[in-house]
């Protein structure tokens, strides 16, 4: 791994990173980035350890600040630093950032367009036994409604590295980077690949059926795809790693298909299913959408694997659901 304009990795690293999981890898990537990025500032609101930042804090005390348990304050301070030209990355759990401090995000990142990068930890249901207070069920819905904010939802740890690197070395403006998955979540990219900000990544070019997935659930969807192929069906599968206010790329993708399936670890309201529904309705497409998502309710808590199974988001369950659609 090396950071710079090009971020590359090998298959050994991909395996190792997957075992560590996205939160630990965020900390590792920041550690590496600090070597090359003079103006970097990494902030947390008392969740430095949960962000894998212990080593970062010890090695780069001048580039690190914990503001205590004060997420609204965190956004303001990060914005002031960004105004002065620092590259700023901040992290906390998804609902605390996207909802408790959503108005600070609206004013500073949305209205003033200050280029702060928000890393939302443990989104979806990956916080397991910590429960609904810590789940990121509605964060995409909230963030997507605020103008000027890029949203990234990396599929695995390799892609997380690509996304962080891309925001560090390009002037993309403010961003919300949504981390889902846990240590051991399936690897989507076993080898280095060509990541392009905003452009969906084609995992499989199939026929008639289009599957769009986002976040770590892309890995589960890839398992479902393999099962579908064994079953004799060959749908197209794309990784929607970037979710923006304007989704022209989705428009280009879906117009060729009559059956569109979205898969996401987010409420059925306001996330990928909503984005695609809006594109279909507003463009008078005839494609029919079958969303696979979390329900608009507070569900049970338990191990991550149990929750994915409960919500029909494991490879097996996604395969079964798609088979039934067909």
């Amino acid at each position: 791994m090396s950071f710079n304009l090009e971020f590359e990795f090998n298959s050994k690293e991909a395996k190792q990173w997957s075992k560590l999981g996205p939160r630990a890898m965020y900390g590792q990537f920041m550690l590496k980035m600090a070597e090359e990025c003079e103006s970097l500032m990494v902030l947390s609101a008392d969740l430095g350890r949960s962000s894998g930042l212990d080593r970062f804090k010890a090695k780069y005390p001048d580039k690190y600040l914990s503001v205590g348990i004060s997420e609204q304050n965190l956004i303001g301070i990060a914005s002031g630093l960004a105004r002065e030209g620092h590259k700023v990355f901040i992290s906390s759990f998804a609902p605390f950032l996207s909802m408790r401090s959503s108005e600070q995000i609206r004013m500073n990142l949305g209205y003033m367009e200050l280029p702060v990068n928000i890393v939302a930890l443990g989104s979806g249901v990956s916080m397991a036994f910590l429960g609904n207070s810590h789940f990121g069920l509605e964060d995409l819905a909230v963030m997507r409604a605020i103008p000027n904010i890029n949203i990234s939802s990396p599929a695995d740890c390799g892609e997380l590295g690509k996304v962080l690197n891309d925001y560090c070395y390009n002037s993309r403006g403010p961003s919300y980077i949504r981390l889902t998955g846990v240590p051991g979540s399936p690897i989507v990219y076993e080898n280095d690949y060509n990541y392009k900000f905003g452009i969906p990544y084609e995992i499989n070019k199939g026929k008639n059926i289009l599957i769009l997935a986002t976040g770590s659930i892309v890995g589960q969807t890839k398992i479902a795809l393999e099962k579908l192929q064994e079953f004799g069906v060959n749908p197209s599968l794309y990784n929607i790693h970037t979710l923006r206010n304007k989704c022209e790329y989705i428009l280009n993708l879906i117009k060729k298909y009559k059956i569109i399936i979205t898969v996401e670890e987010h409420s059925i309201i306001g996330g990928l299913a909503s984005i695609v529904s809006e594109v279909i309705a507003q463009n008078n497409f005839r494609g029919k959408l079958f969303p696979i998502a979390l329900p608009n309710s507070f569900g049970p808590t338990g191990e991550y694997r149990y929750l994915l199974d409960h919500h029909g988001l494991t490879g097996d369950k996604i395969f079964t659901a798609i088979k039934e659609i067909l």
């Binding site: 001048d62 205590g68 004060s70 609204q72 304050n73 303001g76 301070i77 990060a78 002031g80 600070q104």
Partner: protein
């Protein structure tokens, strides 16, 4: 501006901060929005009429520009919209957000060894916002001696007098309790303001608790909260101008 636009505007809370702004821009000055100099953030965004007037007097905003105040499509409205060329540092209007933002700038100054002080002006009513106190803790924990907060204690908020635990004396106690160096002063006394605004305390941020009069300078507006947000008739406008 307020009369010209024919609309109600925040007059009372703008008049209470005019002396503070006059001393900041006239006496402390050296404001340069490009950085490495003093910075000013109007956290109580609804006091923006005061800021526009002062920025006009120091030659930052032309008469043509401010004459569009609260007219359709204007960027000079009831709350500041960031415009660095004109000396408006940040967009405000939602209270309790300016201090955290200012802390970010002040921290950057310390890291880069930039001279200059960051001034954040807030209202007494604004101090009800919890985010103010979140920020106040960071400012002391980071020993932000290049940060000066000015609290405009005019004694009123939107719906009337502020609560009895938020008078100037109690607000002083709160800031002192949060570890700030506190200076109490008459917010209309230019000499006292000048000394307070020039003060820098080693290893501590400074809070100036400025006792002010809402609607200062216009008799019928002074301490009359009807002028928090109100429209001037021609008769009242003439009366006010005669007094000034």
């Amino acid at each position: 501006m307020s009369f010209d636009c024919g609309q109600p505007s925040h007059i009372g809370g703008a008049l209470s901060i005019v002396d503070i702004l006059a001393v900041l821009y006239g006496g402390i000055s050296n404001f340069d929005i490009t950085g490495r100099k003093n910075r000013f953030i109007l956290s109580k965004g609804h006091g923006v009429l005061g800021l526009f007037s002062v920025l006009h007097h120091v030659g930052k905003i032309s008469k043509e520009k401010i004459s569009t105040f609260q007219k359709n499509g204007s960027e000079f409205i009831a709350h500041p919209i960031a415009n660095h060329a004109l000396g408006i540092e940040s967009s405000n209007g939602s209270l309790g957000q300016g201090l955290s933002y200012g802390i970010g700038i002040a921290l950057s100054y310390l890291k880069r060894k930039n001279e200059g002080q960051v001034f954040v002006l807030m209202g007494d009513g604004e101090c009800y916002e919890g985010s103010v106190w979140e920020a106040s803790i960071t400012a002391t924990e980071t020993k932000l001696e290049n940060m000066t907060v000015i609290i405009d204690c005019n004694g009123y908020q939107n719906d009337g007098a502020i609560g009895d635990k938020m008078n100037a004396r109690d607000i002083s106690k709160k800031w002192r309790g949060f570890g700030w160096h506190v200076i109490e002063c008459d917010g209309h006394d230019h000499q006292r303001l000048y000394l307070a605004l020039n003060h820098k305390h080693k290893n501590k941020p400074t809070a100036i608790i400025a006792k002010t009069t809402k609607g200062k300078g216009i008799k019928f507006m002074e301490d009359n909260n009807d002028w928090h947000h109100n429209r001037l008739t021609e008769k009242l406008f003439d009366e006010a101008m005669n007094e000034l």
